[in-house]
Amino acid sequence: MLPERPWRTAASLARDGAGLPDWPAEWRASALARLDEAGMPDGSDEEWRYTSLTAWGQRWSDYLAAAGQPAAITLPAVPSMQPGSVARPAAIHVQVVNGALLTQTGATPPGLFVGSLRQLPPELRGRAAELLGKSAGLPPEQLVDLNSALVSDVILIGTDAGTSFDGLPVHIHLQGSGSPAFSHPRILVDVARSSRLTLTIEHSGADGMLANAVTQAWIGHGAHLDLVRVQSLPDDGMLTDTSHIDLAAAASARITSVDLGGLLSRQSMTVVLAGAGSSATVDGLFLADDRRHIDNRTLLEHRAPGTTSRESFRGLADGHGRGIFNGKIIVMPGAEGSNAALSNRNLLLAATAEIDTKPELEIYVDDVKCSHGATTGQLDANALFYLRSRGLDPAAARQVLTAAFLREALGHIALPELRERLEARLQEKLGGGVRHP
């Protein structure tokens, strides 16, 4: 059982925060105070209707009970950490273990900052403090506050106005060690006016891990962010992952979210189209096979005129897995002339699996074009027969159709190697030795 106010116990145990600059102390204290006030969400909360935090709380309590003992750190290898030459790196890799920056490879060129709050140049501190301060009140509040209160590091990625780093992707590898560990990775992304950034965030770790990640991103006037989020936790890993992405006028974001692993994974993604003419595309894929519970909540908020969003999630549930998609579009007063399209398509491959999907539209202006829809079905019998009539055995035919269905969600990933790696992983997970050419 969790102690009363477990965040207090955790905060008193956490020595990890040591070494952070003084100024986040107040911010952390206020998050703790809000937690004292609000407590943890319980089953009566609509937000948590589909995902119970019981198992999550149990793992947290195991962690608190074991805290103070040295954790045996076992971690998967960080994939493709080839930084290229020092002068012209092909990519920047940042390895974050249990919430703290451990290694960084690839030199950052002028105009790009990638690093820990501990290394932050003084001239950037004001901006970082301002952005962190904005997290108070962001939903889901308790998880964001828990992260703020217990954070042991903050990873920052920032660009200068007018710069472009399309050819230099930044890969953040968030890893949780097991045995057990509860980590609170925190990422701040600041894409300045008229600049461009390509970023990937991958969640992984060792069995027994539990992580509560928060990412805040600001995309300035006319700027662009390409973001790929990959959840590839070990089979018993648990993750709550919150992201808030805020777009200024004429800014754009292209986001792909991929959930492939874990026992319990709950994502809350909020995209705010705050500036006129801003646009976002969000693609998602989740593979709730085995005993996985994967819950995706997304909110797209149109707050300014002429904003555009297109969101498409593809999901699969098999075995005893459960996939949840809860996607909401809100078109606020003032967002005239906006366009929004939301779709969720799912494959339900076993009677013991479950899919819950709930696309929602909330529109407060007349002059908008919105569409939303969701389907859950099985593989098409005609397509299966077609493939078998060409000589594919039933298992191969099912695997080919399943992979093709899910692969559509990866089509907007700008980095070819990443897309291919994810396609291969997908193929592997679907049990096929058949590789797509």
């Binding site: 397509a383 493939l387 078998r388 009539s389 000589g391 594919l392 191969a396 093709a404």
Partner: protein, 254 residues
Amino acid sequence: MNSPLLQVAGLRVAVGGKEILTGLDLTVRAGEVHAIMGPNGSGKSTLAHVLAGREGYEVTGGSASYRGQDLLAMAPEERARAGIFLGFQYPIEIPGVSNVYLLRSALNARRAARGESEIDAAGFLRLVRDKARLMQMDESFLQRGVNEGFSGGEKKRNEIFQMAVLEPTLAILDETDSGLDIDALKVVANGVNSLRSAERSFVLVTHYQRLLDYIRPDFVHVLAGGRIIRTGDRTLALELEAGGYDQVLAAAAS
């Protein structure tokens, strides 16, 4: 006399409790081209589907053997690997699975069944390029999803392209000619004719005799009421063209 490649005897097939084929006989020997003609709803596609192994059909009587083997006991993929090819009346769109991927998987499935190794990349590429040229298909079609966004005519052409690559022993082509303009019809007929050989047989299911101007059949059968009611040479097709099915049906009934 060589033993038949395909022998269908007294075949009865029901769909959803309704009997569609009511005792059908058909014998196809190696190298022969058979045309099966008949009015809409007479059971032509049902026959083609049952021979290819599609689920949802209940065989209530009779038999079908292929190279002396019980065809009806074989799974669809086993039939395909044994050399049977069905050209669909309504080819299926499969987004996300490219034409070349399907063909490579299909070829390798056949090779694996024969204990052969996978086809090498260069040989495969040469093969599909040659056959695409034969079917006057742009190479860009190879990388596209199977039939994805293809026009009706392109889908039919793609079926024959697949057949050309897979080189079946028995090709059953279900109304491959319908919906084709005259140029496309010639391309399709040319594809079929180029594959004709002493070892390969064809069953052409068609509603119109037009196709038979370009592919000369050895036999023409009239399928009506779930049975073959008349068999003749290609002049029977011309008779059907001139008099319509009604006349032939009436003659058969009397």
